[in-house]
Amino acid sequence: MIAQKRAFPLGISILTLLVILGLIPVIIRYLYGIGAVSNLSDGRPWGFWISFDLYCGVALAAGGFTLAGWVYLFNQEKYHAVARPAILTAFLGYTLVVLALLIDLGQPWYIWHAIIYWNIHSPLFEVAICVMTYTVVLALEFSPAVFEGLSKSNLPVIRRFNWHVPLRVIRTIQIPLVIAGVVLSTLHQSSLGSMLLMMPETLHPLWYTPILPLLFLTLAIAVGPAMVIFETTLSSKAFGHKLPMDILSGLGRAIPYILGIYLLLKLMDLTARGDIGLIFSAYPQNLLWWGEIVVGVIIPIFLFSMPGVRQSRGGVFWSAALVVIGLIFNRFNVSMLALAMRPGFTYFPHWMEVAISAALVADALLLIWLAYRLLPITRHEEVAEDAAIESTLS
C-alpha cells in the first residue's frame, strides 16, 4: 500500500532525517546543559523554544477545541469530517509542547513538581495544569479512532479484543469531554497571555495590556479554523482525500468575523490606554505590529470576505496560511521581539535550537502520516478527484 504512493516516502525520509539530526543536539543538551546547544542567556532566558514550540504550538492546536465545540456542542454536523483530523493535530501539538518542555526546562525530570508544589498565583501553574489535563482530554477525544482502527486490525489477536467496550465508554462521556476541552482551552490559550502580564516593564506598550489574555484567546479561536483549513488541505494533497468545498468555505466564512472582533479589541484597547499613537511613532517596534496586523488580520479579513476566494481551494488555503503566519508573527512579537532584554545582551537562535524544534515538528508530521495510514481519520470525506482545483494549489 505504501509502495503505491511514490511521492510521499521521499517526504518521509526527509522527516526521518530531521528527527535524527535533531537527536544530536538533544543528547548534547542533556550532557552539557542548555547553554551548549542554545544562545539563551541570563539576558534572554526564554527564546526560540518558548516562542515557537510553546506559544505558537499551543495556538496552532486551537483547531482541536474550536472544531470539537462547533461540531459537538453547536451541533454543526456538516463539519464532522474535519473534527477528527483537527483533534489529532491538536493532540500531537500538545504532545509536542510537552516534549519541547522536556528540552527547555532546566530540570525536566522534576516536571512533576508542578503537580505537588502548587503556586496557584502563578500563570505558569495554570498553563501547566491546562497542558496536562487537556492533553489527556485530547487523547480521550481521539481514542475512538484508535479503537476503531484496532478493531479492524489485520492481526486476529488484536481484532478479537472487545474494542466496542472502551468505544462505548468514550461515546457516553463524549459531550462532557468536549465541554472540558473547550473550558481547558479557553483557560490555556488565555493563560499564555496572562503569563506576559507579569512583564509590564519589559513588554512593549504596543502589546502589553491587561486584556492580553482575551486577545490571546480571540486570536487562537480565529486561527483554529484557519489551521484546520491549512492542515486538511495539505493532508488531502498528501493522502489523496478531498474535502467537500462547502466545508472549507464554511470554515473560511467564520474567520473574518473573529479576526474583526480581534482587530477591534486591539484598536479599542490601544485607544483606551492612550497608546494608539505608538503605532506610528514607536519605530522600530511599530513595524512588527503592522506586520502581524496587516499579514495576519487585515488581508485575511478582506480575502475571506470575498466569495470568489472562499469558493477556490487555493484561495481558502493561502488566506488561511496568512492567518497562521500572522499568528506566528504575533506570538514571536509578544514572547521575544517586543520583550526587552537585560542590558548588554543579544540573542539570535542557535541552529541547534532550531534543529531541535524542527525535529519535534517532523516527529508530529510522521505521527500524522502514520495515523492517516493506520487509523480511520478521513473515512467520511472521500470526494471525486478534481484535477482543475488541484492544479490551482500546486
Binding site: 546543559g33 532566558p45 526546562l105 496557584i120 465541554i179 516593564e201 491587561p210
Partner: protein, 267 residues
Amino acid sequence: MSKAVLCDANKCIGCRACQIACKQWNELPGDETTNRGTYENPPQLSAHTFTKIRFNELENDGKFYWVFTKLQCMHCEHPACVEACIVGALQKTEYGPVIYDDKKCIGCRYCMVACPFGIPCFEWDTPIPWIRKCIFCADRLSEGWEPACVKTCPTDALKLGEREELIVVARERIAAAPGKYVNHIYGEKEVGGTSWLYLSPVPFDKLGFPTLGSEPVTVNAARAMGAVPPVLLGVAAAMAGIYWLTKRRQKLSQAKDSDKEEKGVTK
C-alpha cells in the same frame, strides 16, 4: 518587621569588597573575564556573581560624576519572581529576604523573565542547573548577623536595619545635605517597594536603574488569575447550555417533522 539595606552611593568608594565577601560566603567561583577598560568587573551578574558594583561615569548639571552603585536582588515587597514561580520555589520571607528552594525548582526560568530588575541567573553550562541569585544572606540574618556584603563594607555605604527606620534615615540624609542627594529614595515606592533602598547624588535613570512605577508588577497577572474560577464555571455552563439548546432544537424539529408525517398519514 522586615529587614532592609540602605545603599548610599555618596559613601561607596567602589572597593568591591562586597563582591568578594559575597563570593566567599556563598562559595562562588570566580569568572574569567577580559579587560574592558573599566574597573567594573565582571560585566554582568551571573550564576557565580550575586552582586557587583557598577561604575558609572556621567555628567550631570555640567559636573562630572563617578558614581558606584551596588547591584543585587532588590528583595521586592511584592516580588514578581515569587508570583511567577510555578512551584513556589521562591518565597518572600516576613523578615525581608526573597529566598530560593532548589528542592522545588524545575528550571523553567519564568522568574528570570518576570523580574523587573533582571536579577535571577541560571546555570547555563551544567546538565543539572539551578537558578542563582542573592538571598540577602538569609542564613546569616536568621542568626542575627549582617549580610556578608554589609559586614565587609569599610565605609558604611551599606546599612542594615528595619525598612521603615532606614527610610527615615534616608530622608534625614537628604534633608541634611540637599545639594548632595537627589530627592528620591530608589526602592521606597518602585514596584510597590523593595527591601534594598538607594540614595544617589544624580538621578537614578542615569545610573542604569530601571524607571519603574509604584504599582507592583504582579497586579495585572493577579487579576487575571483571580478571573480563572469564574471563567472556568462560566464557560462550562455556557457550553453545556448551548449543547442543551441545540439538542433541544434538533429534537423539536424532529418531533415536528414526525408530527407532520403522522398528520399526513391520518388525513
